[in-house]
């Protein structure tokens, strides 16, 4: 490791995770350096969500190790991970449908005991004013995008050291997608929160991130600095949509085979 | 070769409720039978044959009782059933017992259907609930100048029987049968029902509930400040536990039953001895179930002795019909004869006084 690389908040080594007989992760290793934003790209079903769940304790890896802040944590329960300083904003919102917006936010700070919780709720409301307007509404009746905002805000409430974001832009309007990534960058720069980000919108993810991994069918197939990935031919082709476009609408469909695998 | 009888064994069966709502009857009854059988076996058995008592639990469910009967009859090949509990359960089991010639000896229910059927296969132990309640109700109506009687009962054949007895006795005595309420076995509060009976001016109320609700009924009446009502239970409620309720809540309750309470007769040596044995065995003062178990098993053992080494259904029937003795534990007189398969017939009327049952009168029926 070179001198300018910061220490790793999280190290994942050779992790294998199963759903019953299905092997979803086939030996994945990644590093998340302190204070950086790391993104994981990959097609649908590649195992991104599985990886996130494995490091946050929601799934147990069959093999391999996960180290968080210098401690081995694989197989711990998710609540212990939260206490250690990890916040996971899961795929698919997962808000508490019968609790009000505000109660949802308060629960985000469940592990905290300090007096600044109220301030942080105000901060969330600043980021997402609609939530303030709907603070007493049951979260289950919010629109899809509003629920996504609530899930992200709730994740922020934990004041984590490492934040996992699984497809945060899902279902958000273009304006809000920009805002979300702005928030991610600000939190990272101003409060030094380390981020591990899964995103389908590779363009914006790589623009935001410092480092990127590409996951395919349970394996890491590429890893590099974000800007290098952005420039890579393959990434251009398969994740950034180079080659497809409105001008090709009437052409016959065809697909180039990926060069790796 | 007689079914259930080998050179060294006689197999007796029973389907009981060991885990359901009537376990309070079955469990001690089985315990008492086992106690007596062990004693008999230890003394060499009956004509060299050991007694084996196979008990199946039906948890008061008819399907399981039917299964149990099938097993006992077709697999275990029992000679007779002793003390099987539950009316519909017995009726269902008779269907497999009758064609196979398995007698029903002293089933643990006093429903009158228990005596209907092929004569050589039916025996009951004590006076029916019906006779007991009629006799006791008559005694109270007569002795205390009661003019209005009522009834609270579970709508089962047990309850119906007591209800009928009350109605019949009221009619026979020319008094007014004024009101009735029916209940589920699980009921736990009787304020409304009692209010209704009080309104109707009931002076004597026959109660055909299981034990726990019986206690609650009497307690509730006291709480309502209804002090002058007389409650009468059948043999099913003639239970030591009721007399033992703390706070004197059940003081004054009457019972009409086919046997006498144990506690008051502790000076009788046989009673004292048996109570001691059972206390040793179970750590508890034997209650109604144990008493019924003991006296039924006692009668069966007597009959088997009399039937002699050549045990067949015919010799057994003949032996049962000769039974005629004082049962010291039950405190009644067991007597059968040809065409008479109902055992003891006297009715003992008792009342709870100072936390114990006290005999107030004895009535001879028939």
């Amino acid at each position: 490791m070179t001198a300018q690389t910061p220490p790793n908040v999280m190290e994942v080594r050779n992790v294998e995770t199963f759903y019953g007989p299905i092997m979803a992760l086939r030996g994945v290793s990644i590093d998340v350096p302190q204070g950086k934003i790391v993104t994981i790209l990959g097609a649908n079903g590649a195992g991104k969500t599985t990886l996130m769940k494995t490091v946050s304790g929601a799934l147990d890896p069959e093999k391999g190790t996960v180290t968080f802040l210098g401690e081995r944590v694989e197989g711990s329960e998710p609540d212990q991970m939260v206490r250690r300083g990890l916040a996971h904003v899961p795929e698919g919102r997962e808000v508490f449908p019968f609790l009000s917006v505000e109660e949802n936010l308060k629960l985000g700070a469940y592990t905290r005991r300090d007096r600044e919780i109220g301030d942080d709720i105000e901060m969330c409301y600043q980021y997402f004013p609609i939530l303030k307007e709907r603070r007493a509404q049951q979260a289950g009746t919010l629109s899809g995008g509003q629920q996504q905002m609530l899930a992200i805000g709730r994740g922020l409430m934990a004041r984590p050291k490492l934040m996992l974001l699984d497809e945060p832009s899902l279902g958000l309007s273009p304006l809000l997608v920009q805002e979300i990534f702005g928030i991610i960058r600000r939190l990272n720069e101003e409060q030094g929160v380390t981020m591990l980000l899964v995103e389908q919108n590779a363009q914006i993810a790589l623009n935001t991130a410092d480092y990127g991994y590409v996951l395919e069918i349970g394996r890491i197939v590429m890893a590099n600095d974000a800007d290098k990935l952005l420039a890579s031919q393959d990434i251009q082709e398969f994740y950034l949509g180079g080659g497809h476009g409105a001008n090709q609408r009437d052409q016959k469909r065809w697909k180039r085979k990926k060069t790796w695998r | 070769q007689t079914r259930g009888v080998t050179d060294d064994e006689i197999i007796i069966g029973a389907y009981q409720d060991l885990s359901g709502g009537f376990a309070a009857f079955s469990v001690p009854a089985v315990e008492a039978v086992n106690q007596l059988f062990e004693e008999v076996n230890a003394a060499g058995g009956i004509h060299g044959r050991q007694l084996r008592y196979i008990v199946e639990d039906h948890g008061y469910q008819v399907p399981r009782a039917a299964q149990a009967a099938n097993k006992l009859v077709n697999r275990d090949n029992v000679f007779a059933m002793l003390l099987s509990l539950g009316t519909p359960h017995n009726l269902a089991a008779f269907r497999v017992m009758d064609p196979n010639g398995v007698p029903s000896v002293f089933p643990l229910t006093a429903a009158r259907q228990m005596i209907e059927g092929p004569e050589e296969l039916r025996y009951t132990a004590t006076a029916s609930y019906y006779d007991g309640v009629r006799a006791a109700a008559g005694f109270l109506i007569e002795g205390q100048g009661i003019e209005t009687v009522c009834s609270m009962y579970i709508p089962s054949d047990f309850g119906e029987e007591i209800h009928e007895a009350t109605v019949d006795e009221a009619e026979a005595r020319g008094v007014n049968y004024a009101a009735e309420t029916t209940h589920r076995p699980d009921e736990s509060d009787f304020t409304g029902a009692l209010a209704r009976l009080r309104e109707a001016g009931c002076e004597l109320i026959t109660v055909a509930l299981t034990i726990r609700p019986t206690i609650t009924v009497v307690a509730t009446a006291k709480q309502m400040g209804w002090d002058d009502a007389r409650f009468l239970v059948s043999s099913a409620g003639f239970h030591t536990a009721i007399a033992k309720v703390p706070g004197g809540i059940t003081e004054g309750l009457y019972a009409g039953a086919g046997w006498q309470d144990l506690e008051a007769r502790m000076e009788t040596p046989e009673v004292a001895e048996w109570v001691a044995t059972m206390m040793d065995r179970t750590g508890e003062f034997p209650g109604t179930g144990a008493l019924l178990g003991q006296s039924a098993a006692h009668a069966l053992v007597n009959a088997l002795e009399i039937a002699g080494p050549d045990l067949t259904l015919e010799s057994f029937t003949a032996a049962m019909e000769t039974l005629d003795y004082d049962d010291p534990i039950a405190g009644n007189h067991m007597q059968m004869g040809p065409g008479d398969h109902e055992g003891a017939t006297e009715i003992f009327i008792s009342q709870i006084q100072d936390g114990g049952w006290v005999l107030v009168d004895t009535v001879e029926t028939d």
């Binding site: 929601a58 904003v89 508490f96 | 709502g21 309420t181 029916t182």
Partner: protein, 292 residues
């Protein structure tokens, strides 16, 4: 006066239904699991109370015995969840239904083996005590039951709505994974609420035993009626559970007083079905159409 008397009796008995229903609702609120052994926990609580309080047993003073029984049953319920029910964490609700039905069988067996099958009664300092207010007679036992239940429901209601742990419990029931991601130790929270429900059941059991007698099989059917109470109130609502209990308690007495005999027993269930037909989620429903 007659009606008032009836009402009080019904309310007192309804309170016990309400307490058992409260036990269901507690567990449901924290895990959406339904405990079919709740009635048997009441039975166990009653026997424990007797074991601690009665003169021929431990002979503790009433209050002390009540506390001891509550603690015992609380600990037992906690342990049940910790060592048995936790094994099916995350399995469909149905598994829990089956598991608790089976547990009920075992609890009844245990009670029967320990304490026998004969009904026993609890010795209370207020057994048979009566307060007379004009023509109205009030059993002290009833009064105590009503006060205790009211206080307990209110406390629990505050706890669930206002405290951090209470809200966390509700969250756990709505989405276990998300609750974990908030740092809520969901499994432990479940065990705690089972313990709490055990305490409530013990109190219910002791109060129940103070009114009559108990035997191992009282729990099953009593539990079902308490279910009806919880459903009337809207499963998941604490005040609803109490209200449901009261309604059942009162309707039972009113029906026994005025309806033809044979029909009166149906009244509580008929009431429940009626409520459900009119309001499928009970009086204080917390069910919703899915937002798509």
């Amino acid at each position: 006066m007659d009606a008032l008397q009836l009402l009080i009796g019904g309310v007192a008995n309804g309170c016990i239904y309400g307490l058992v229903a409260l036990g269901f609702v507690l567990i449901y609120k924290a895990s959406e699991a339904v405990n079919f052994a709740q009635g048997d926990m009441l039975m166990l609580g009653a026997f424990l109370g007797i074991a601690f309080i009665n003169g021929d047993r431990a002979d503790l003073p009433f209050l002390l015995g009540l506390i001891a029984a509550s603690l015992c049953l609380g600990a037992l319920a906690y342990a049940l969840d910790r060592f048995v029910l936790r094994a099916i964490f995350g399995q469909p609700q149905f598994a829990m239904v089956i598991l608790t039905i089976a547990l009920g069988f075992i609890l009844r067996f245990a009670a029967g083996t320990f304490w026998g099958y004969d009904p026993v009664s609890l010795e209370t300092p207020f057994a048979g005590e009566i307060l007379r207010l004009g023509s109205l007679t009030l059993a002290v036992a009833d009064l105590i039951i009503i006060l205790a239940t009211g206080a307990l429901t209110f406390t629990l209601w505050l706890f669930f709505g206002r405290t951090r742990l209470g809200v966390a419990m509700q969250a756990s029931s709505q989405n276990q994974m998300a609750a974990y991601y908030m740092g809520i130790p969901v499994k432990r929270v479940n065990s705690i609420v089972w313990g709490l429900s055990g305490v409530v059941s013990a109190i219910a059991g002791v109060l129940f035993a103070a009114k009559g007698a108990v035997e191992p099989s009282v729990g099953l059917l009593f539990g079902i009626k308490a279910f009806a109470a919880a459903v009337i109130g809207g499963f998941g609502s604490l005040p609803g559970a109490l209200l449901g209990g009261l309604l059942i308690g009162v309707i039972e007495q009113v029906a026994a007083r005025y309806a033809p005999s044979g029909y009166s027993q149906i009244a509580p269930y008929a009431l429940m079905l009626l409520v459900l037909i009119l309001r499928p989620g009970g009086l204080f429903a917390q069910i919703a159409q899915k937002k798509v």
